[in-house]
C-alpha cells in the first residue's frame, strides 16, 4: 500500500499536444478575417402618389387623405458620363455637391413649418450604385435624425433619365 502511494502515474500528453497543434494549424489556415462591412438599415416603401411639398401648403394636422397623396420631398439624381453623378436636384432646386445637399436636407428636416411624409429619390437608371450610396450616405448622416424612410423610383426618359453619355 505504501508502495502504491509512492508511484508516479505519467499521462503522456505528447499525442494530445500533437493533436492540438493539428487543430491549431487547421484553424489558422481556414481563418479569413471578415471585411469591415457596414450597412444602411432602412425601410424602403414602395413609392406612392406624391404631392410636392414646395407646391402644396403644409397641413397643420395629418388627415386620412394623406395615405392617398403623401407630401413628398423629392430628390432627383441624374447620371453624367460613365454612370457617375451628373446633376442633383432637391425639391426642383439644383444642388452643387454633397455638402450643399446635406445642408439643404437638414434645413428641410429641421423646418417645423415644411413637413413631409416621405422622401423620394428618383434615380437615373444608369447611375452607378456607388454614386447612389454617396447620396444615401448624406441622408443617413443628417442631424439630429437621419432620414431612413426612403422610397426609390426610376427616372423616366421624359424626365431626363436617358442612356449614358
Amino acid at each position: 500500500m505504501k508502495k502504491m502511494r509512492g508511484m508516479e502515474i505519467e499521462i503522456p500528453i505528447t499525442p494530445m499536444l500533437d493533436m492540438a497543434f493539428q487543430l491549431l494549424t487547421f484553424f489558422i489556415l481556414t481563418y479569413r478575417p471578415a471585411p469591415m462591412e457596414g450597412q444602411f438599415s432602412m425601410n424602403l416603401l414602395p413609392a406612392q402618389k406624391a404631392i410636392d411639398i414646395t407646391k402644396e401648403q403644409p397641413k397643420e394636422e395629418s388627415t386620412p387623405s394623406l395615405d392617398a397623396s403623401l407630401r413628398t420631398l423629392k430628390t432627383v439624381l441624374r447620371a453624367g458620363g460613365n454612370g457617375l453623378l451628373g446633376e442633383v436636384t432637391l425639391a426642383d432646386r439644383p444642388i452643387q455637391g454633397m455638402d450643399e445637399l446635406k445642408k439643404e436636407l437638414e434645413g428641410f428636416v429641421n423646418d417645423p413649418v415644411v413637413t413631409f411624409d416621405q422622401a423620394l429619390i428618383k434615380v437615373d437608371p444608369h447611375l452607378k450604385y456607388s454614386e447612389l450610396m454617396k447620396v444615401i450616405d448624406v441622408f443617413s448622416s443628417l442631424k439630429p435624425k437621419p432620414l431612413t424612410k426612403l422610397s426609390f423610383s426610376e427616372l423616366g426618359p421624359d424626365e431626363g433619365g436617358g442612356p449614358p453619355q
Binding site: R32, G38, P46
Partner: protein
C-alpha cells in the same frame, strides 16, 4: 560509471503550459472563425460610405435575413450561382413563400399584402447600374419585404 549516469538522465520538459497556450489559441480561432462567411461573395466590390454602421450582433442573431449579392452587370448571385432576372424573381418569390409558411407555422397567418419581418441584405457591386438594383428591390417589395440593409465598406 559515466555511461550509466548518461543512461539514467531523462530530460522531461513540462509540456502542460504549452498545451494550455495551444488550447487557448484553438479556443480563440474557434470563436472567431466564420464558416458561412454570411453569404459573402468576393467578386462583389462594395461601395464605400463613411456613415455605414457595423451590423448589430443582436439583430444578426434575431432577424431572419435574405442576402442578395448583385454583380456589376446587375445579375443576382445566390449561393455562388449567377442567376438571370427571371431566376432571381422566382428565387425571391420562393423565399417569400417559405418565410410566410414559417410564420404561419410558428405564429399564425400572414396576409398576402402584409409586410414580412425578414430583412433583405443587398450586397451590390459599386458599378451596378441602378436599373438592375431597382428591379430587384421592386421584386422584393412586391413579395412583401420592406426592411432593407444596403451593405457598404466603412473605409477604402
Amino acid at each position: 560509471m559515466s555511461a550509466s549516469m548518461n543512461n539514467d538522465v531523462r530530460a522531461e520538459p513540462n509540456l502542460t503550459p504549452l498545451l494550455d497556450v495551444v488550447f487557448q489559441l484553438i479556443t480563440f480561432f474557434m470563436l472567431v472563425i466564420n464558416f458561412s462567411q454570411d453569404n459573402f461573395d468576393s467578386r462583389i466590390k462594395l461601395p464605400v460610405a463613411g456613415s455605414a454602421r457595423p451590423q448589430d450582433d443582436a439583430a444578426k442573431l434575431g432577424d431572419e435575413r435574405l442576402v442578395l449579392n448583385v454583380d456589376k452587370d446587375g445579375h443576382m448571385i445566390f449561393n455562388g450561382q449567377v442567376l438571370s432576372a427571371d431566376e432571381a424573381t422566382q428565387k425571391i418569390k420562393l423565399e417569400a413563400q417559405i418565410a410566410r409558411q414559417n410564420i404561419k407555422t410558428l405564429k399564425g397567418k400572414v396576409e398576402q399584402g402584409e409586410a414580412l419581418p425578414a430583412r433583405i441584405v443587398i450586397r451590390a457591386d459599386r458599378d451596378t447600374p441602378f436599373a438592375a438594383l431597382f428591379a430587384l428591390i421592386n421584386t422584393c417589395q412586391t413579395n412583401g419585404y420592406q426592411k432593407f440593409d444596403l451593405k457598404a465598406m466603412n473605409g477604402p
